[in-house]
Symmetry: C2
Subunit: 160 residues, 2 copies
């Protein structure tokens, strides 16, 4: 329905990682149990389990099984971007009718429509590839991103 949709997976995944970021600052090796994350962020346990597994397979988190097991970040939080997380959980950032934007072909007056979709993807990358977990945890967004929040109407929905 929506052109830009942050899925439950991406949202829950980010929240789990921000919990792990907080733990990482105390002690980078500290393990947090899935159950604890689930309760702290109110996310269905079994669903979260699958998300954390995907994040592990992408090398973003590490895990240990058994008693005293749990999860932790496998990279420093300033080295994990939101784009990394979203790509790990939801695949490629952008698509046009299911295809990569650079793969769609247009003819006639639509010839330059592809440039538009490429620009959309570039704009998305410019935001998501430059914000790290550390940025969000400490509420210090890159200046170019912070500027977006100062634009008039950024916080309001479009009434029209």
């Amino acid at each position: 329905m929506q052109t830009v949709h942050i899925s439950a997976k991406a949202d829950y995944g980010m929240r789990a990682l921000l919990e792990l970021t907080a733990a990482y600052r105390e002690n980078p090796k500290q393990l947090i149990k899935g159950d604890a994350i689930s309760k702290a962020q109110d996310v269905p346990v079994k669903f979260l389990e699958g998300i954390l597994r995907q994040l592990r397979q992408s090398g973003i988190v590490a895990s240990q099984r058994g008693a005293e097991g749990g999860y932790r970040l496998d990279r420093s939080p300033d080295e994990v971007t939101i784009a990394d997380v979203v790509r790990a959980l939801d695949g490629p950032l952008a698509a046009v009718r299911g295809q990569r934007p650079e793969d769609v072909v247009y003819s006639g007056p639509s010839e330059h429509l592809r440039e538009v979709w490429i620009a959309v993807r570039a704009a998305m990358r410019d935001v998501l590839e430059h914000i790290t977990l550390a940025d969000v945890a400490s509420n210090e967004l890159p200046t170019t991103v912070a500027a977006l929040l100062d634009e008039p109407g950024a916080w309001q929905r479009r009434t029209s």
Copy 2:
């Protein structure tokens, strides 16, 4: 699956409107038949019919029934933005788990995640609300948008 997805409706709708833009330049009152648009852009006729109806209900196109009927733009092509089109066809630009970004609430270390999603939406608006049908038809994108296409790697997919 993808966080930014240009649906078939949005893509077909833009292509139809660009056909109408070309006709508008010859004569703003000229009517084009749905069947002609369908053939020119290779879009399923009946599907396109529904898209054009939605665009009419949003005041972007006008239509006339009966023999010698058809469709035309109801506004000048430099007054119709891509955001207008995708909102007319796919609803709000951005959502987080189905909700408006400003409506989601976070706690603990995720507290500032909302700012991130708001920034994502703002970035998307900055592109889609500033490109008009006329811009795409004449391949003269606003300078800030054109700059996105010049960024290194804008045309390549991320390999990682």
